[in-house]
């Protein structure tokens, strides 16, 4: 079974964010980057399937800027066999305004030369929370898509998945090749061992430019996107941090409820 994992590198949740000068992107200079957490579930599931299968390869495909190779190293250390990085960095240090549609276009072009039975993506990327790249990829490739998967079982060329729906779960079945997206609960991603991390540093990966895939720069990035960013700003800080004083828990509770009623009018 050959599996492709779609991985996006996103700013580490704990790193400070700054907006660039024309307020259309995040200044990536000092931002620490990490694998999108849902894509860690995707990588882990691919590795589990491969281990159970006793064969096949796990190939990672990632579209993103110059920093993506750091994430590829982590994925290699986890056990991924091969990786393809499509570099879509248009302006130095600034994400090029890509959206789900343009990212999917590039991913689909990169998949042309890869053999796969199953594609695993994340349920969403926690930078833009678009929830859309897998749907575009599925539509462009005519593949069945199962989103928000928390359990899967493959038998022959069928895959049966338990997925989250509003208020519960559904069990569905489709035939391979297919795309599934990983939801929390699917698995617990492994931590790579030290030796694997050292070994991963020396492993090759494919580095492609848009040109190599025959993609015109003007058809992707902000120019080709359906969602165009006009303006970004940092969210205003919360009014914050008022400590409720009182001699006892009961006094504090009473003071709080008074404030919630009078100052906030939420009760």
């Amino acid at each position: 079974m050959n599996i492709v994992v779609l991985m996006k590198q996103v700013p580490d949740t704990e790193s400070e964010l700054a907006i660039n000068d024309d307020a259309t992107g995040i200044d990536s200079e000092d931002v620490k980057m990490a694998i999108n957490p849902y894509d860690e579930f995707a990588i882990e599931e691919a590795l589990l399937i491969k281990e159970k299968d006793g064969g096949g390869t796990v190939t990672l495909v990632s579209v993103g800027p110059d920093t993506v190779p750091e994430a590829i190293r982590v994925a290699y250390a986890m056990g991924v066999d091969h990786a393809v990085h499509v570099n879509d960095e248009i302006d130095e240090g600034v994400y090029g305004g890509a959206d789900a549609f343009t990212s999917a276009k590039i991913i689909v072009a990169a998949l042309k030369d890869i053999d796969y039975d199953l594609i695993i993506a994340g349920n969403r990327a926690v930078d833009g929370d678009n929830y859309q790249v897998p749907a575009h990829v599925a539509e462009m490739l005519g593949l069945p898509l199962v989103s928000a998967v928390v359990h899967q079982e493959i038998s022959g060329d069928a895959i049966t998945c338990k997925k989250l729906i509003e208020g519960g779960t559904a069990t569905v079945r489709t035939s391979l090749p297919a795309i599934i997206t990983a939801q929390k609960g699917l698995n617990e991603p492994r931590y790579p061992a030290f030796r694997a991390i050292m070994k991963a540093k020396k492993k090759d990966f494919d580095e492609l430019e848009l040109d190599d895939l025959g993609i015109d720069e003007k058809s992707v990035g902000a120019a080709g996107a359906f969602i165009k960013i006009r303006k970004l700003e940092l969210a205003p800080a919360r009014t914050g941090g008022r400590i409720i004083e009182g001699a006892s828990p009961a006094e504090k509770a009473a003071a709080l409820v008074k404030l919630l009623r009078e100052e906030r009018q939420v009760i």
Binding site: L17, E139, A148, E166, F226
Partner: protein
Amino acid sequence: MAQGVAVIAEYGNDGFRKISLEAVCEGKRLASELGQNLTAVVLGAEVAEGAAELAKYGADRIIVADDAQLKSFQAEPYANVLAAILQETEPSMVLMGATANGIELGARVAAKLQVGLANECTGFSLENGRLVATRPLYGGRVIAEVDIEGTPQMASVRPNMMKIEENEVPVEISRFAVDTGEVKVELLEENVVVSSKVELTEADYVISGGRGMNGDDFAILEELADLLGGAVGASRNAVDAGWRPHSDQVGQTGKVVSPKLYLACGISGAMQHTAGISTSNTIVAVNNDPDALIFRVADYCIVDDLFEVVPAITKEIRAIKG
């Protein structure tokens, strides 16, 4: 030429979901400003009768796709039917609720129609007859204003952001002939818990517990949530410990909530948690560690033992409510 606003409304077990009414009312506001009609679209089985309720919130026209094949939510048939409805009726913009099902459906339809979809929007404005959306990014740390290309422009609305107002108008109801098209994913089984409690993402009051709860007994939180007509949430640590189901998890790998009041009890306030609460109106934290990070995002902070404070809050509110 494309004209008018369409809103996809989700019909649940006991009527329309609150977020759907919010989306309908926002759709009405936009349609009025444009001087155009509001069309509500309802998909499901045996929903035709209930659908008429939407006239109360300003729908000029209601289109129902009522068919036994649409009894359970399944992304593919729902998307095939919805895409056909939008192609035939040609609205210039489409809103829906940012529910788990809504987000899945929206992505499929946007991919099919090759149009832009802005998810989890918190506000809208109009410019030259086109929709401009505001949406949070990076776990609520950044706010974006975006243009949505293509027609129809699509957007999903984050719960608890829009006002519900009654605005009854005469309505025309029509049925759309359902053709579910090619369906590649087969539904084998469904397990939906019908609960009388409010859904976490739609609750006005969310009372959440973390590792500080020290076990799976969340009774004091449930009591307060019940009193307020709210819902109980949890941190990932509480979920991973097996104290609460994943569907209760708030945060980056859980749900986003925007209640009037978010009460965090025994939660340290990691960024991955606060990513799920940034659009809450008021945040209160109860934690016995004065240095807990949660106090940096909370509007009101109580440094004390949650097992003493939470019952005292409940008692205080009960006294007021009589």
